[in-house]
Symmetry: C2
Subunit: 454 residues, 2 copies
């Protein structure tokens, strides 16, 4: 895209957005304040948009505007997130946008997999095809941009921080490095390899390995960030949701503003499904769509507190010690965004389902055979889809979207382990190890002939 | 994008493209024939487009058409490659396009790196942000689509094959899997780990590990493909160039059809720089641009035959045994596309330069500190840029594009090795290892204060 053209008017400043308590406590807070939870009840905040003002533009006009910005060379509209900036953080000034062209990822028609499954209208939204390799970029561009504006406006923030071993710290470190903002990553010593950490390390984050466990890290992070000069980027911070919700809007846009019947997403901390619902609800409120897709939360059986809560009718939030799972990014026993996710499932006639290690690994491998390169979390979502098809909940004529959260390149050892047949609790049904042959044309030709079924 | 709408007319069939001998021997060959080299002289072929016919549409009309297709939901125009299909393989029918939304990657304004370097108009074209993680997708979508059309039209091709340990086999296997076409990958036994192979393994390719070296593999591949039922996807096949050339056109389009002053690209087999020139030359022939950027071929010092040839004024092609380099994808001693690349350099007032292991690794690390995640080949290109700036060839006001060929996620061990300080011949000037601390808030706060320069 073109260099930032800062002479363009920031027209969208006409719109406003604030933090409010998700549970409904009275009070509004600037999104440029350092605030993470409701001062009254301690619950999560949510960014509230003035939908009355947004409705002054017609649904048709919004659709035309957003369509016109796709791939734009005018900063920052080429980004899928900032192409809908009026709906994200409308009063963020262009010069503070920290963007790496996130979004506008392939909504891949899974033609071969869908046919095998008997659901030919199957699509996989490949969010991992992104700057840092996961959907976290969508939220982090918003968070780091907000911090940049805070710093420009003299709010005394000096750095951003999070405790995470995976995609969140990779995205935070990269966007912070792009903006020149110091990033601090907190981790439990000895629990994490350099390979897992190497993205934030390479992006120059201050990586602190503490002599404690993950909970101990969170305790230290909270203490260190108490003076409000270090801005916390963990999931309790609701600003990232504003970026993550754009993927739901983008899916609808990519179907020429038609709503699919299902969106299936792997969930751990539950921010992502909350974000999907928030994006869809906005489209509904603005009259751009007139129905919602059914949202499916897919959990790993080893870390399934939300599934257990669903099974008890959401009467109470289940918490558990998460067991080790191949789907490491959703290995979470006490999900932060529980209340928001309950709303997302209840308001969309949604479903929560789970998948075993065996199921998720083989689902991922089956998808790979049709050209994808599937991370274990996407494997969870696919395995859940297979179950819903088998029991007739997803019908042959339904339009289904599976949300792929990360690029398989982040999970080389998962892929190698699968095809070498040594993943715990997994029987590799589609293992495809290399074939060793002498360098003789005749032998090679015979092997190929066998493979091609001559 | 939307399901394939096959009812749309394939208007572009008005245009024609054929193989011709690059050296100028008489003869035209269908691109849907199984033919790799000139039957007269044995040299490389090149796809020849009928530019007279293409000129019937004005430069302005072409620009408007291509701009209108960016991010289109109409199959297959959402792909950066197929958005310019009239210039790629105009008579390929829509139903045979095998696309995974390649191209339209971020032309990243390297604002912080450019400032550090004193070249503020610096851009990095992040081609590795793609389905299989490298720029090879651009060429492979074309090759596999052509094969699909061959098979549909009864040309007796049964499978695609290549000998490659890296990005080429990953891209071939993925696109073939997407299309349901068998892929065969030939490799030297014991020289390649499962991790390097795991993309084609996962994508269901028939991976044959032969008891020989790489040259031995190539010999067997040639023998096995002699009966023309297995289509060879190695670099000697010039059809991939038609997809790869689109990146040059895309760069110009992303600058609102302005030509940058320099494009710097890492080179090994030399197909990519040939492709850049071919794309730019087409724009020149159609009157869309009126000058060419200077092309810079960046080589690893350990495998620098093209650099040596350049130094001798291209009087003769230098060949050499390539030594081991971190930039493994360009570790090539006898480049296939030599003659085309000489033309690309000579016709653009181009430059060939080299970088040592130390230089490429530190250049990559410096770029990472500004938010990128740079593969070693991109490190070669950046290191060469630094040299050209230092000796005043690249000026402070020049607009420079560095072409990043793969995602850093494909090179985790390179990143880990760098930050652990154990890469051969590399002194890690920007190593950023984790800091180990006790879980005490006071100690942690002090460490952060030191880092933030309090």
């Amino acid at each position: 895209m073109q260099p930032k053209n800062l002479n363009q008017p920031d027209l969208n400043i006409a719109y406003r957005a604030h933090f409010r308590c998700f549970r409904g406590c009275v009070g509004e807070y600037s999104i440029y304040n350092v605030i993470y939870t409701c001062p009254t009840c301690g619950g999560l905040l949510e960014v509230y948009h003035d939908t009355d003002a947004l409705r002054n533009r017609s649904a048709e006009a919004w659709k035309t505007l957003l369509d016109s910005r796709v791939g734009s060379t005018q900063w920052p509209y080429g980004s899928g997130v900032w192409g809908m900036r009026e709906w994200v953080t409308p009063d963020l000034r262009s010069e503070n946008v920290v963007s790496m062209y996130e979004g506008n990822t392939n909504l891949y028609w899974a033609e071969r997999l869908g046919k095998q499954l008997g659901v030919p209208d199957l699509w996989v939204k490949l969010c991992g095809n992104s700057h840092t390799g996961s959907f976290k970029d969508l939220g982090m561009t918003v968070l780091v941009s907000v911090v940049k504006q805070m710093m420009a406006d003299g709010v005394g923030v000096r750095a951003v921080a999070c405790a995470s071993t995976g995609d969140t710290s990779a995205a935070l470190a990269s966007y912070a490095a792009c903006a020149g903002i110091p990033a601090i990553i907190f981790l439990p010593q000895g629990k994490v390899s350099t390979a897992q950490l190497v993205q934030p390390v390479a992006n120059g984050a201050h990586v602190l390995a503490l002599d404690t466990d993950f909970d101990g890290c969170m305790r230290i992070v909270r203490e260190v960030t108490q003076d409000n000069t270090i801005y916390l980027a963990n999931s309790m911070n609701s600003i990232r949701i504003e970026g993550q919700k754009t993927v739901a809007i983008e899916i609808v846009r990519q179907f020429d503003w038609e709503v699919p019947d299902w969106i299936i997403i792997p969930v751990g901390n539950l921010g992502n499904i909350s974000a999907l619902y928030k994006g869809l609800k906005l489209l509904l409120d603005l009259g751009i769509i007139n129905r919602l897709p059914r949202l499916v939360a897919a959990q790993a059986g080893k870390a399934n507190p939300f599934y257990q809560s669903y099974r008890n009718g959401f009467r109470e939030k289940v918490m558990m010690p998460a067991q080790k799972t191949l789907a490491s990014a959703i290995q979470i026993g006490d999900p932060v965004s529980y209340e928001k996710a309950v709303q997302a499932v209840q308001m969309t006639d949604g479903v929560v389902e789970q998948a075993s290690e065996h199921e998720l690994a083989n689902a991922a491998a089956l998808a790979d055979l049709t050209g994808m390169y599937t991370c274990p979390h996407t494997g969870v979502a696919l395995a859940v889809l297979f179950k819903l098809v088998e029991r007739g909940e997803v019908k042959a004529t339904d339009r289904v979207v599976v949300l792929s959260t990360a690029h398989g390149l982040k999970f080389t050892s998962f892929k190698v382990g699968y095809h070498e047949g040594n993943l715990a609790e997994v029987e590799s049904q589609f293992a495809n190890p290399p074939v060793y042959l002498p360098a003789e044309a005749k032998v090679v030709k015979e092997a190929i002939a066998r493979k091609l079924g001559d």
